[in-house]
């Protein structure tokens, strides 16, 4: 079956059924008891007790019931996309028709559990603005992945981006986002941080943790056990602890989260369970938004959003208070950023940076990670034990592969562009940040170079704004394109210092960058008593304008 495209008005749209594999998905939860039964059978060598047979019968019974229920539900659920709405009909005894106007649909979320993926189907949820938490959401249990993609496109084609910007409530917590909580630093780092905290607290109280008998016996047992099993177990424990910690922190931090325009000029974030936080941002001080995708979160298809706003306190405070969306699906993040900017968040169509930027990232990684690590290991290996020599070449190999992969990813992340009222810049691999900065908010430009970047024709352009982190970088641009970008993005700052004779090419760049070490470089530079002479000249400039 095929997903519906929006229909032309007049002709009634056809109803579509869910995929047959929905039934299998419904039976999915039977896997665990059946599996354990099979294991029991294996373990007992086929001699199965009466109790087990009764269990099996019960399982078979519920299996049958579930299948029937699933069959009926499958048979009684259908959906269609008419020219102006998305409708889902369901219910066995009570028939329910739910219809959502297409222009109200803000998100279409496709999720597939491992079981779904195995069967090649996916769950589609269509949410409307500000209601993503609860009832006003339509979900379809199982569609083939292709159908789901088509339906999503059909639904979102009509979703009105401008309307998204008009809606006062931009985003609310959706507890399905909890799945992104473990994809943060807290999974591993948090456990060690907590352990460190406990240690320090004990130490502060004058207790030496390693002298406690519990700790000692635990360590003895750990050492006595088979290391190949205790070490993975310990890692697993850390992982589980970290995940639990991350979930707890997520719930605590984002309970009742709500991001909304309380009036035309005030953006408000409210969140928190034990500590409730409320941050209001005046529209006039809101200068842009950052879409942050840390490596792990990005791998899971998630992102968070920060506001670029003035008056949120010092750097530390700003870092805490500017977060306006917890780790959430990327589509939601883009939508939230759009609602915050009241314009579509410019997420695509960025210009790539020169290949030299890729080489630079590779070199930097190899020089700063692979080389020193290998040298240290090799040196120690020569001094102490030959095992370390093997570690050295293994490290060289593995770290080189990782570094090259990260460098490629970092290079692919690079991008910039001017889109509407915004300057957009993207960079980073450990945290890929896409920043959209209001062009009229740019207060100064900085061009930064190093000898290496000058040789390869790269420059990092920094836009200063009186908001957020103050300086936002467009990293490793082509040096001959940077001034034009700066002039186009924020006119009226640097035009008078531009040399318009340029034809591009190396000769020009050589003139553009003064020859270092030479005393007289660059045309028209006044050595020596610059003073009044130079100043008067400048005053003439001033008068002329």
């Amino acid at each position: 079956m095929s997903a519906a495209a929006p229909h032309a008005p007049g002709t009634p749209a056809r109803w579509h059924r869910l995929d047959r594999r929905t039934l299998l998905v419904h039976c999915g939860w039977m896997a665990a008891p059946l599996g354990s039964f099979a294991l029991t059978a294996l373990a007992t060598g086929g001699r199965i007790e009466t109790g087990a047979w009764i269990t099996l019968a019960a399982i078979a019974g519920s299996f049958a019931v579930l299948t029937v229920i699933g069959l009926v539900r499958w048979a009684r659920t259908d959906y269609r996309v008419t020219h102006d709405s998305f409708e889902v009909r369901s219910g066995v005894l009570t028939r329910r028709l739910r219809s959502v106007p297409l222009h109200r649909i803000r998100t279409v979320d496709l999720t597939a559990s491992p079981l779904h993926r195995l069967l090649g189907v996916t769950v589609l949820r269509a949410g409307t603005a500000g209601s993503s938490g609860g009832g006003a959401e339509l979900s379809l249990e199982a569609l083939t992945t292709a159908d789901a993609e088509r339906l999503r496109a059909a639904l979102l084609a009509r979703a009105d981006a401008a309307a998204a910007a008009e809606d006062p409530v931009i985003s609310r917590i959706n507890w399905r986002w909890l799945r992104y909580a473990p994809l943060t630093f807290w999974v591993i780092g948090g456990v060690f941080a907590a352990a460190g905290g406990v240690y320090r607290a004990l130490d502060g109280a004058g207790i030496k943790p390693w002298k406690l008998s519990i700790v000692r016996s635990a360590f003895d047992e750990f050492g006595a056990g088979a290391l190949w099993i205790t070490i993975p177990l310990a890692l697993l424990a850390v992982l589980v602890l970290g995940t639990v910690g991350a979930l707890v922190l997520y719930v605590e931090g984002w309970w009742n989260f709500r991001l909304e325009w309380t009036d035309a000029h005030t953006l408000r974030v409210r969140r928190g369970l034990l500590t409730t936080r409320s941050v209001t941002i005046e529209r006039g001080r809101l200068r842009g938004a950052v879409l942050r995708e840390p490596l792990l979160l990005r791998a899971g298809g998630g992102a968070t959003v920060r506001a670029v706003a003035g008056g949120l306190g010092n750097k530390e405070e700003n870092r805490k208070r500017s977060v306006i969306l917890p780790p959430a699906p990327r589509t939601e993040a883009v939508r939230t950023a759009s609602g915050t900017l009241r314009a579509a968040f410019p997420d695509a169509g960025l210009h790539a940076h020169p290949k030299a930027a890729l080489r630079r990232r590779r070199t930097r990684g190899l020089l700063l990670v692979t080389l020193p690590g290998t040298l240290v290991l090799a040196f120690l290996g020569l001094l102490l034990t030959p095992v370390l020599l093997h570690c050295a070449w293994a490290f060289a190999l593995v770290s080189a592969v990782v570094v090259l992969w990260l460098a490629r990813d970092a290079y692919r992340s690079l991008g910039h562009g001017i889109q509407g009222r915004y300057l957009v810049a993207r960079s980073g691999t450990f945290s890929r940040d896409t920043v959209a900065l209001q062009r009229e908010a740019i207060a100064a430009w900085t061009f930064s170079t190093t000898p290496f970047s000058r040789r390869t024709g790269l420059v990092t352009l920094t836009a200063a704004v009186a908001a957020g982190e103050d300086g936002y970088h467009v990293r490793d641009l082509a040096a001959d394109g940077a001034p034009a970008l700066a002039a186009a993005a924020a006119p009226g700052i640097l035009e008078e210092f531009l040399d318009h004779g340029g034809h591009s090419g190396h000769g020009e760049r050589a003139r553009h960058v003064p020859a270092y070490g030479q005393e007289d470089s660059g045309p028209g530079r006044h050595r020596k008593p610059l003073s009044t002479h130079a100043l008067h000249r400048n005053r003439d400039d001033l008068d002329m304008t």
Binding site: T450, V465, A466, P483, R509, E519, H526, S531
Partner: protein, 172 residues
């Protein structure tokens, strides 16, 4: 922008005072090179007095790790800096280049100027130099011009002040 060809950012027109080179040299001597050289000397003397056997390997190590970098910094940095540092006051913006290895060129429009500070450190006073810092609302937009002569600094800060007054401001 109006130019058809790719426009390029030219360096600022005015160099800083030549005396700045001496100031930077002394600064390098006091902060980096001097301490490094003294450390090397102290270690070498200690080695000669107490562990003469260590000298054959300690000597080259000190030379490579401390003496050469210190001398290199002392000799290269001030010249390089002097070649880079420059400034210019335009009709609508103030423009400065600074740094040596890592170089920065920063342009801030006069309409965003909040304050103009002239600072003379104890060392700078000896050489008759001053640093003019033009602050904007963003810390990433502060323009610093180091190594101006006193007279230039005074004149410059006065003129930036005047120009900032003349240009309609939106220094928010």
């Amino acid at each position: 922008m109006s130019a058809p060809a790719t426009p390029l950012l030219r360096p600022p027109r005015n160099r800083v005072d030549p005396r700045a080179r001496r100031w930077w040299t002394v600064q390098a001597l006091l902060t980096v090179s001097g301490p490094a050289l003294l450390t090397a000397l102290a270690l070498a003397v200690c080695s000669v007095l107490f562990f003469p056997g260590a000298l054959p390997w300690l000597g080259p190590l000190l030379l490579v790790a401390l003496v050469l970098p210190a001398l290199g910094y002392l000799l290269v940095m001030p010249r390089w800096r002097y070649a880079v540092h420059a400034w210019e006051l335009g009709g609508r913006a103030v423009y400065a280049a600074n740094g040596w290895f890592w170089q920065k060129r920063r342009i801030a429009p006069l309409s965003r100027v909040q304050t103009v500070d002239t600072v003379r450190g104890p060392l700078q006073q000896r050489f008759g130099l001053a640093t003019v810092t033009v602050t904007t609302a963003s810390t990433a937009g502060d323009v610093k011009i180091a190594g101006l002569s006193d007279a230039d600094a005074e004149e410059l800060s006065r003129r930036i002040g005047e120009a900032a007054q003349a240009v309609p401001g939106d220094a928010a």
